[in-house]
Subunit: 401 residues, 2 copies
């Protein structure tokens, strides 16, 4: 991608959402975005959820600019600036090590960035992780950087470094004060566990009262339980979760996923003032999952919740139809013309009378707005089709974007 001769270098990439099964909550260094514990996540397939980002550089650009979902945003915001600074530092470093030609002009070029999500931004679906992973990946391509992008993505949003890989990904907290060993690594590729399925249960969205950045720092400052969790509980859970993933042990994976979600929300509640991301609907989903598993005498489905009331449910492909029927039973869809089930096709199934009786939940119509069915997926991709670019030849967003 020789950039010197061309008036405009454009690259378009996509990046996935990831869902942590061992949760990240709390930084030991706010500036470098270094976490107080390691975490582990599952990368979701981009067929259902992804961010697309186009980055363009040109000697004709007079300033860095960014458009998110079609609207120009302030390029001066600190996290974005940290990413840009870091990618330019890596580009400079790489070229100064002599394994390349002398630094090209492109390093001094200003960049235009356009980014869109194919899902609602504030739906609690970790849009910032996909967004910053995609930004880091696109910037690396356009500036010709090959090195590990964990730090670039992390500076934007901690969990974004986990969206740099497909499959099952750990973010090692590291020990160094400069954060050089706080990096994401793939634990297993997306092909490792083909039966695993992911159902996102989107519940009626109350406005989010406490963002995760502010929330986690209040937790670090005030929750005695959070410190204990980070130091004494998570290290063992990382080992156990890695083992469950490698062995494709769904029961172990599911139980630990639920326990770690619950413990994360427990530390939120132990924060002062307390933080509550779970709603009554979230708690009904929790009850539904435990009733479903109790009925089957084994862990067949497992929930996890991030900083919002939506549930992400893991299960295996052969359980999906029955569990979706159970969700429909407990949360009868409201006839709003919207499609209740999105994403991967799910064949209809009916509930047995025994399971129906075991679901000790009063039906709550409309409690779950819709389900997105998806699976484990690959990491960021570069799109070759020039039609995919979100920026036109003039370096401005295309009308359609």
């Amino acid at each position: 991608m020789a950039s010197e001769e061309k008036p405009l270098v454009v690259v378009t990439c996509t990046a996935p959402v990831n869902i942590a099964v061992i949760k990240y909550w709390g930084k030991r260094d706010e500036d470098l975005v270094l976490p107080i514990n390691s975490s582990l996540s599952v990368t979701l397939h981009q067929d259902q959820l992804k961010t697309t980002t186009t980055a363009a550089i040109s000697k004709d650009f007079t300033e860095d600019r960014i458009w998110l979902n079609g609207r120009e945003e302030d390029v001066g915001q600190p996290r974005l600036q940290a990413c840009l600074r870091e990618i330019r530092r890596l580009a400079r470093k790489r070229r100064s090590t002599g394994d390349e030609d002398p630094p090209p002009l492109s390093l001094s070029y200003k960049v235009h960035i356009a980014s869109v999500n194919n899902f609602p931004t504030a739906a609690g679906l970790a849009s910032s992780a996909a967004g910053y992973a995609c930004l880091a990946y696109a910037l690396a391509r356009v500036y010709g950087v090959d090195s590990d992008l964990s730090e670039v993505a992390r500076r934007g949003s901690g969990s974004a470094c986990r969206s740099l890989y497909g499959g099952f990904v750990e973010w090692q907290m590291g020990e160094r004060a400069d954060g050089k060993d706080s990096v994401a690594r793939q634990v297993a590729p997306e092909s490792h566990w083909p039966e695993l399925r992911v159902l996102i249960l989107v519940v009626s969205a109350e406005r989010k009262l406490m963002g995760s950045t502010a929330g986690m720092q209040t937790s670090v400052e005030t929750s005695p339980l959070l410190r204990f969790r980070a130091e004494a509980v998570v290290p063992g859970r990382m080992v156990e979760m890695t083992h469950c993933v490698r062995e494709r042990d769904f029961q172990g994976f599911g139980r630990l996923t639920m326990k770690d979600s619950n413990q994360f929300h427990a530390t939120c509640l132990d924060t002062f003032p307390p933080i509550s991301y779970l709603s009554d609907i979230s708690r009904r989903i929790v009850r539904l999952v435990h009733c479903f598993n109790a009925h089957h005498g084994q862990t067949k489905v497992a929930y996890t919740f991030d900083a919002g009331p939506n549930a992400v449910v893991f299960t295996l492909d052969d359980t999906v139809p029955e569990f979706v029927a159970a969700v429909r039973h407990c949360f009868p869809p409201e006839s709003n013309g919207d499609k209740f089930l999105k994403g991967l096709p799910v064949r209809p199934a009916s509930l047995s009378d025994e399971l129906r009786a075991a679901l000790d939940v009063d039906p709550t119509p409309g409690g779950v707005k819709h389900i997105i069915a998806t699976q484990v997926g690959p990491g960021p991709q570069t799109l070759d089709d020039p039609h995919a670019h979100l920026l036109g030849p003039d370096g401005l967003p295309k009308p359609a974007a």
Copy 2:
């Protein structure tokens, strides 16, 4: 109370509800009801909430019998049997030490017990604590026992031992395996802090999904955070809370009360399967309290929640009218003819526009069903008026009871 000559010895006592500000959750010995941590509570005034219990013994009774709120219950239930066994053991022991006449016949007499609450039993208002404290106290009177009743009450329900005293009461967890040092002690009498007020916010009662006995044992078995709390957090908090009570430091008392309630519920959430006693209404009350305090720039009100969604709010007398107005604003009473405010009189107050704006809560009509205003009160009482007896001369419940 010489019982030998009389055909029937009857005594009637009352006992108070207590609300823990450092929470008890989890036993180290289920049989002896020994806790994994010490706890501290405030005894509520019996003018608003109390249990009344009549105990009668007679040589004519052929079996132990018990009536709760007018209905005969199984006298064979283990906790009740443990209380009866323990009180008879204490009576026997006392008389065998020789500071009395030879054992009277009354020790072998069967007992009839009748007990009523002046508040709904399952309202999450720690009715079992008042109930077993009252039982222990009445049995001690009728069998002529003068010693510490902590163990008798504790065997019925752990927190019942704290209802044996008025004012501010600690339950020292103790260290001995036989539990002899696991006793309740008064930290300060009911006259110590006359300005302190207690508002019970009764919220729409969902049925309780997990009783506290089963819940706390699941927590002990599954929550890593609960063990840490009991061992590493509570001891320091007991010291701090005792200090706040002695100094009448409301800000310290209130903040620690809220933190400890939150941490207790955090350990419930860390239990597997998780336990949730707080509802969306509970969380709105939490938010209201923090908004109210933030508006005033100090901790003027403090919440605590037990194993249910009702809030118990502590404040000082001069803050009651404004806080009640704030509750009315956030939870407009539904016109059901019921009285919204019960207990101590509260003078009407209006909200300032500033406070109204600061209460960042969407009004939820009917979210709080009513408020019971009360204060710190004395321990168990013996009633001298024979009309107070719940059992008639025949040893059976009076028709009115």
